[in-house]
């Protein structure tokens, strides 16, 4: 069950560039312990809802985290990271995630 295809990845890549390096703060978070297909090896992992400085809100995974980063108001920064598992066609999917500032 693959939601992501090479064509979709190609089409979406150009949307990410303007977001890289942007900062914002966590307005809510969760820690996923029961993951969907493709994310089993990463669990448990935090997913955060972030409000960027321009007020736009984005959901993404938090990386390079420790327990003290899991709180509302925590400052985070957008980074470019691999997403999910490498699919059957061997395409590596990169996308947006957050890192604590």
């Amino acid at each position: 069950m693959s939601n992501i295809t090479p064509v979709k990845i190609w089409r979406h890549q150009k949307k990410y560039a303007p977001f890289l390096g942007k900062e914002g703060k966590i307005i809510s978070w969760t820690l996923i312990k029961a993951p969907p297909v493709g994310y089993e090896e990463e669990a448990p992992y935090p997913v955060v809802l972030v409000e960027l400085q321009d007020k736009k809100r984005i959901i993404g995974q938090l990386v390079d985290w420790t327990k003290k980063d899991l709180k509302t108001g925590k400052k985070v920064k957008i980074v470019y990271r691999r997403v999910g598992k490498v699919d059957l066609e061997g395409v590596i999917h990169y996308g947006i995630k957050f890192r604590p500032v």
Binding site: M1, V47, T72
Partner: protein, 382 residues
């Protein structure tokens, strides 16, 4: 508006490994037709509420499939709107009647989920979400956990307050022979259950379920030997697919909008409701629903639920007498149809041990996604 519900039927909900989707639909429909004392020949259209048959079962085209299975050759449709598929199928069926095209129609909701691995079900359900959310590896418990945390921090609510919803709904399910979990749980058991998506625990979450429910709707009011029950309002609203698109995370605006419209169409207010089936896919969801539907003021629902204000034989308004999604089970496409069935049984006075005494006005509330679509129906027995 006034549409008669002539008959209702529902299979048991749960892990029904010995039954196929075809068998479940046949069972629910034969119950509904028997309840309505109608022949199949009187059905002019079939509406099927379902979400996951394609992504999990590899089967689409459910309208024709179930029409054939039932022996119908009438117009037939699959209606999909995530976990609100059942409610949307009821709404669509009503439109067919109100348009004057059909007089008597059959609505069936069906989902077969337990044939598949939990990770596959989680990923399939995320088909209701936004691409960015799927990419983040978030699940539906995760999305509602995000909502729960905002609500808990704003109103100073604890996990124990959330647990009161599951405790109540499990108690109601002990009185429902069709429910998936016919046993009580204590707040301590909820709080000791494993975390699924922090702060939501296993017993805050509705289960993965199989089941089907069916109702017969008609513009002809001849209900053979039963207390007549009518749908007097049917309203749908939508909101952003992703949580990132919402301004307020302590309310589901789609519910607020659909409810406002439904109350207006029915000419009633929230205080007129005696019994409600609301979309408690997670404990926090029932709390949001009770406020968005106007039953309690903002920030108060958790405490009111804990105080028994919506519990059978305690509250003036009873919420989720069936056990709700939490304890009756949540075969997603079936849920919205089952909710209408439960309200009909309650308004007829046929609910037995879980009967809400003297119930005259009922409400059914069905949500899809993390609040991207909501359906509200109001029913009366006069």
């Amino acid at each position: 508006m006034k549409i008669a519900v002539l008959g209702v039927g529902t299979t048991k909900f749960g892990e029904l490994w010995e039954f196929s989707p075809r068998a479940l639909v046949k069972e629910a429909v034969s119950q509904a037709l028997a309840d309505a004392k109608l022949d199949l020949a009187e059905i002019e259209a079939l509406y099927v509420g379902n979400m996951l048959s394609g992504i999990l079962g590899g089967q689409e085209n459910l309208g024709a499939l179930f029409a054939e299975e039932l022996g119908l050759r009438c117009p037939a449709f699959k209606i999909e709107g995530a976990c609100a598929s059942g409610g949307l199928a009821v709404h669509s069926a009503i439109l067919g009647i109100l348009a004057g095209i059909y007089k008597t129609v059959l609505v069936v909701g069906i989902e077969k989920m337990t044939d598949h691995k939990p990770e596959q079900v989680s990923a399939a359900l995320m088909g209701a979400g936004y691409e960015e959310e799927r990419m983040a590896g978030i699940t539906f418990p995760g999305l509602y956990a995000i909502l729960a945390r905002v609500y808990m921090e704003k109103y100073g609510i604890t996990q124990k307050d959330l647990a009161a919803v599951s405790v109540k709904n499990h108690y109601h399910a002990t009185l429902n022979p069709k429910a998936q979990f016919q046993f009580a749980v204590s707040a301590e058991q909820v709080l000791a259950s494993p975390i699924i998506a922090d702060p939501l625990r296993l017993l805050d979450c509705s289960p993965v379920s199989d089941g089907a429910a069916a109702i017969v709707l008609s513009s002809k009011f001849k209900t053979k030997g039963k207390t007549p029950v009518y749908i007097t309002a049917s309203a749908v609203a939508t909101d952003s697919l992703s949580l990132g698109g919402r301004k307020d995370l302590t309310s589901l605006l789609a519910t607020v909008r659909a409810a406002k419209k439904a109350y207006q169409i029915a000419g009633i207010s929230p205080k007129n409701i005696d019994v409600a089936e609301v979309h408690d896919c997670f404990s926090i969801a029932e709390i949001l629903a009770c406020e968005d539907l106007g039953f309690f003021s903002r920030g108060k629902a958790a405490k009111e639920i804990a105080a028994g204000k919506t519990t059978l034989n305690k509250g003036k308004l009873v919420v989720n007498p069936s056990g709700g999604l939490k304890a009756c089970g949540h075969p997603v496409g079936a849920t919205g149809v089952k909710q209408i069935g439960e309200i009909v049984i309650q308004l007829r006075g046929e609910a037995g041990a879980r009967q809400v005494k003297g119930a005259k006005v009922g409400l059914a509330h069905n949500v899809g996604g993390s609040g991207s679509v909501a359906v509200v129906h109001i029913l009366k027995n006069e």
